[in-house]
């Protein structure tokens, strides 16, 4: 039992105090048993407040602290750090979420929000009162990473890891590395050739003895945890077990395949996708020829498979396609001077420096026609002529009909359809079906699975530059975790009271991680938790017939104390 608890109620600069009456909260909790001091603070997370709490812990010899502020997801590490620096065990810290779960959720009801905040703080005090000092478990970690995907992003991650001293297994599903980029010719915005870039990266890979490449290979199983994953890789028909500390998933994207007859796709022979068109330009010589016909007028229809209306699943913008289409159009114009490009777009999104390409294309005389979803371009073939009809926003909705030779569907990126990895690695997926990071700004390359990182276009559509940055960022993060050679694990693990254990095997059957072992206790055998395997899920706790198992941080006295405080 903790006897001296310090409670800090955060205003969050108005995010909380605009709706929750902070003074009322302070007043209501100050008489709670064992509460030694209650303070309010404009920003509990600010450095000065952190220092103040540290000072209070030492000065008043507090043995537990509660901060009532935002979601614990944001600041538990911050305040555990405060406790630690002040010499208090970090697990004697409890956070009450009175922002996301009170002031914001009930901003329509300040009285209710205040009442709820009071109860939440009381529950946190109850939990703090029953909190125990816990010591993190240290386990050795291997400085080895598996990089899944041998496209440009995966190659980049692998090289960076190797340069930083992490050993790499590069695992590619196809028979060759290089991904999409190896098949593409000139790339924006430097005009480097895709094959040259892949060759250059590949030659760097070959210089590193600490990178091993597996092609025709797939990860089919993952067990263990950060620092010590055991993965199984299927290579042709063989299964190779590997021991790695981290996994970087860099599996890239698929190009959206237009539906049957979407803008005449698969019905008209002169309707092709952007990747097809890129190849066509590369293969054509002096004249641009498609199906034996010389092409003079090219229509690009943008946002095919992206920014869809209610009928389509893809609400997102695919980011790279506006620039990619314009870049191709410029290339076509350079190679075959008398080409005329018509861009049927929904607002050009050449963000950043890519704007210069848009400008160049306009200077080339390319024609831009803008439509919205209610008035998509209509394609019809009249006497062998392909006509596109559309109401153009840029000319006050005037209906414009153009005859063209070739229609290029500017298709976006979609997530990989193969969901084996989602099942094997348990990576969460967002509404757009791409892999989801844990926090877009704080931790953009990390997932909720510790040690499993994401980079490149498997996370969201990106151009090459952005793919490289995220691939190197993931490498840096993985290396910074593994380079010390040991990992510190959360000590919130299951613990079995041997005196009550009857060795019924229920817990062993419930545990997904093989963390229950048998040991001798007095004159009999009992179950015991193997801490290096235990993940702290607690699945073993409700199945015990004698209630002999508790999860540290979620013990009966803690949870029941919280329940009592919430209704009190």
């Amino acid at each position: 039992m903790k006897k001296k608890i310090g409670v800090y109620v955060c205003h969050c600069g108005g995010n909380i105090s605009d709706y929750v009456d902070i003074e009322k909260v302070k007043e209501a909790v100050k008489e709670e048993a064992d509460v030694y001091l209650v303070k309010n603070t404009l920003f509990a997370c600010s450095d000065s407040s952190q220092k103040e709490i540290e000072h209070d812990i030492q000065e008043s010899e507090l043995d537990a602290i509660v901060v009532a502020s935002c979601s614990p997801k944001l600041h538990v590490p911050t305040f555990r750090g405060v406790a630690q620096r002040a010499g208090l065990n970090p697990y004697n810290y409890v956070q009450a979420n009175i922002r996301e779960q009170s002031s914001w959720a009930h901003s329509d009801n300040p009285v209710g929000a205040t009442e709820k905040a009071i109860q939440l703080v009381k529950a946190a005090i109850a939990k703090a009162r029953e909190s125990e000092a816990l010591t993190p478990v240290k386990i050795p970690a291997v400085n080895v990473a598996a990089v899944i995907g041998g496209g440009i992003g995966g190659l980049r991650s692998a090289i960076s890891l190797a340069e930083m001293g992490t050993e790499v297994y590069l695992i590619e599903k196809e028979s060759k590395i290089g991904g999409h980029i190896a098949q593409w010719d000139k790339l924006f915005t430097s005009n480097d050739k895709g094959s040259d870039i892949i060759n250059s990266l590949y030659s760097q890979i070959l210089k590193h003895t600490n990178i091993k490449i597996f092609t025709n290979a797939e990860v089919i199983e993952k067990t263990g945890s950060i620092g010590n994953f055991n993965i199984k890789v299927k290579i042709d028909k063989e299964i190779l077990p590997l021991h790695v500390g981290a996994v970087i998933v860099n599996t890239g994207f698929e190009s959206y395949q237009p539906l049957q007859s979407e803008y005449g796709y698969n019905v008209l022979e002169n309707v092709i996708t952007l990747p097809d068109f890129k190849n066509l330009i590369e293969k054509s010589d002096k004249e641009l020829i498609h199906n034996g016909k010389i092409i003079k007028k090219v229509a690009y229809i943008y946002c095919v498979g992206s920014r869809q209306d209610d009928e389509g699943e893809n609400k997102y913008c695919s980011r790279y396609c506006c620039t990619a289409a314009i870049h191709v159009a410029i290339e076509a114009k350079q190679k075959y001077r008398n080409i005329i490009n018509f861009h049927y777009n929904r607002g050009i999104r050449t963000y950043g420096k890519q704007e210069l390409l848009y400008e160049e294309s306009c200077k080339n005389g390319d024609i831009y026609i803008q439509f919205n979803l209610e008035n998509k371009p209509q394609i019809e073939v009249v006497k062998g002529k392909t006509l596109i009809k559309v109401k153009d926003i840029l000319t006050a909705g005037k209906e414009i009909t153009a005859e063209v030779d070739l229609i290029v569907l500017v298709t976006g990126m979609i997530s990989r359809k193969d969901d084996t990895l989602i099942n094997t690695l348990k990576i969460p997926v967002g509404r757009d079906n791409f892999y989801n990071e844990i926090h877009m700004k704080l931790r953009p390359v990390e997932t909720v699975i510790d040690g499993v990182f994401i980079a490149g276009t498997c996370q969201s559509p990106k151009n090459i530059l952005e793919t490289l940055n995220s691939s190197q960022a993931a490498a840096a993060k993985a290396n910074s975790v593994l380079t010390k050679g040991e990992m510190t694990l959360e000590p919130t693990l299951a613990q079995i009271n041997p005196a009550s254990c009857i060795l019924c095997e229920n817990c062993r059957n419930a545990c997904p991680f093989d963390a229950i072992m048998t040991v001798n206790y007095e004159d009999r055998q009992v179950a015991k938790v193997n801490v290096s395997n235990c993940k702290g899920c607690g699945m073993c706790t409700p199945v015990c017939p004698t209630d002999a198992i508790d999860l540290a941080g979620f013990t009966n006295p803690q949870i029941e104390g919280m329940i009592d405080a919430l209704v009190n």
């Binding site: 969050c12 600069g13 404009l42 920003f43 997370c45 600010s46 450095d47 000065s48 952190q50 944001l74 600041h75 911050t78 750090g81 960076s160 340069e163 930083m164 790339l187 915005t189 430097s190 480097d192 870039i197 250059s200 609400k315 997102y316 913008c317 980011r319 607002g347 050009i348 999104r349 050449t350 963000y351 950043g352 420096k353 890519q354 704007e355 210069l356 926003i393 000319t395 006050a396 509404r431 757009d432 791409f434 877009m440 700004k441 704080l442 996370q459 969201s460 090459i464 530059l465 952005e466 940055n469 995220s470 190197q472 960022a473 840096a476 993060k477 290396n479 910074s480 380079t483 010390k484």
Partner: protein, 428 residues
């Protein structure tokens, strides 16, 4: 090869911090220098950030504290590199200029007593000049370090603060310090400059009081905001017909910035959502050329603003004029109707763009840090190693290389850290 630090990082905004933390976690010794009196760059001053609407201060402050506290990071504020010379042994000899704070850093407790007695009142640059501060001041509430400094240009040297300070931290005898260090590598993370719309006369910024910049609006929406409400400057009225002028200082050859600033569309859309929350009765019109809602969750966020009622008008503003009551008349061509129209608003927010901040290039004395045609640090191996610059051992992170949003900045800073770590390993 011996050096005082493994890496010098110039700029302690979110890019510099991220690179510093990654490298420090890997065990490298980092020297982080910041020209401002506190760290966290521009992000710490923002309100909420798109497209998730989480509060910028809440995200920035833990990283700021972690940076300030990390045992492998040495931090100098009010400090800029004077000269950077690459030596034959591949180390860099650095001369740093540290401006005097006139406050002893370790003695100041941040109690703000000095501010109460200082007689000199000037514009508060951290509140975008919306309110005033004293000549002795703490930059802003969540500044780190949260200690005072004296703005000597505006100080009357009356000594009132010196007498008032309970910890005797005021020291008028402080002089500019020149610090020499040797480092093995450098990261340029000097960020961007905001476009000053005074250069576009037809918008009347600086002349019409109710024409403000998006950064000024950002401060009015931030948790550490100067007023407890959204107010227009001329008469303190709560505005109810607000206009946003997109692409102010971007995609514009006349002011020398032909590129798109990459973040203005989204921050304007975000501000519109926050304003619709704060002022439910207000009409908000967004005058745009193209909406660049390209990133993860951006297009959905744009659609959400439309659904909430923001009025998007495709049209470039030709000119702004002021009425006697302080309201503003916007003249524009409505592209969708093809007509030239006028509309009246009581507050106009200019969505100002980002410009390159290339002042650091002057510090490189014997090797040239190349920049591109719009003055951003040139990425000499763009499609293989984006952090590499024209000088071996010097890397670039974040908006020093191009305009970009927060997630892209964090990833670019991570990439720079990876490059530095690889480079340092190959040196040893």
């Amino acid at each position: 090869m011996s050096a005082d630090y493994d890496v010098l990082i110039i700029g302690a905004g979110i890019a510099g911090e991220e690179s510093a933390l990654k490298l420090a976690d890997m065990g490298f010794k980092v020297l982080l220098v910041e020209k401002e009196p506190s760290i966290g760059g521009k992000m710490i001053l923002l309100s909420k950030v798109f497209p998730t609407l989480d509060c910028a201060a809440c995200i920035t402050t833990p990283k700021v504290s972690e940076t300030a506290r990390h045992p492998n990071i040495t931090l100098f504020t009010l400090t800029e590199p004077e000269s950077i010379i690459k030596e034959v042994d591949n180390t860099f000899s650095i001369t740093l200029k540290k401006r005097p704070r006139y406050v002893v850093e370790q003695d100041c407790t941040g109690c703000q007593e000095c501010e109460t007695v200082c007689p000199s009142v000037v514009h508060d640059q951290f509140q975008m000049n919306l309110v005033a501060r004293k000549a002795v001041y703490i930059p802003f509430n969540i500044a780190n370090p949260r200690i005072a400094l004296i703005d000597i240009d505006n100080c009357m040297l009356c000594g009132a603060c010196e007498q008032k300070c309970p910890s005797n931290a005021i020291d008028f005898t402080q002089k500019e310090q020149i610090i020499s260090v040797k480092v093995k590598s450098v990261i340029v993370a000097t960020g961007f400059k905001l476009f000053d719309p005074i250069h576009i006369e037809r918008y009347g910024y600086g002349k019409y009081k109710n024409v403000i910049t998006s950064m000024q609006m950002e401060r009015q929406l931030a948790p550490t905001r100067p007023f407890n409400n959204i107010l227009r400057p001329s008469d303190g009225k709560v505005p109810d017909k607000i206009a946003y002028v997109f692409c102010t200082g971007s995609r514009d050859h006349t002011i020398g910035n032909p590129i798109c600033s990459q973040v203005c569309c989204m921050y304007s859309i975000k501000q519109s959502q926050l304003l619709m929350g704060a002022l439910p009765m207000a009409d908000i019109s967004m005058y745009y050329i193209n909406i660049r809602a390209f990133g993860k969750g951006f297009n959905e966020f744009y659609m959400q603003a439309k659904d909430m009622g923001a009025n998007f008008v495709k049209g470039k503003i030709a000119s702004i004029s002021e009425k006697e009551n302080g309201n503003l008349i916007l003249r524009y061509e409505n592209i969708e109707t093809g007509e030239v129209s006028e509309s009246e608003h009581d507050l106009v927010v200019l969505s100002v763009g980002l410009l390159a901040n290339s002042s650091v290039t002057k510090a490189f004395k014997n090797k040239i840090l190349k920049t591109d045609e719009i003055n951003y640090v040139k990425q000499t191996n763009l499609l293989q190693s984006p952090a590499i610059t024209s000088i071996e051992g010097v890397f670039a992170a974040g908006t020093a290389t191009a305009p970009m949003d927060i997630p892209d900045t964090i990833m670019s800073a991570g990439a720079a850290a990876a490059e530095v770590s690889g480079y340092l390993n190959q040196l040893s």
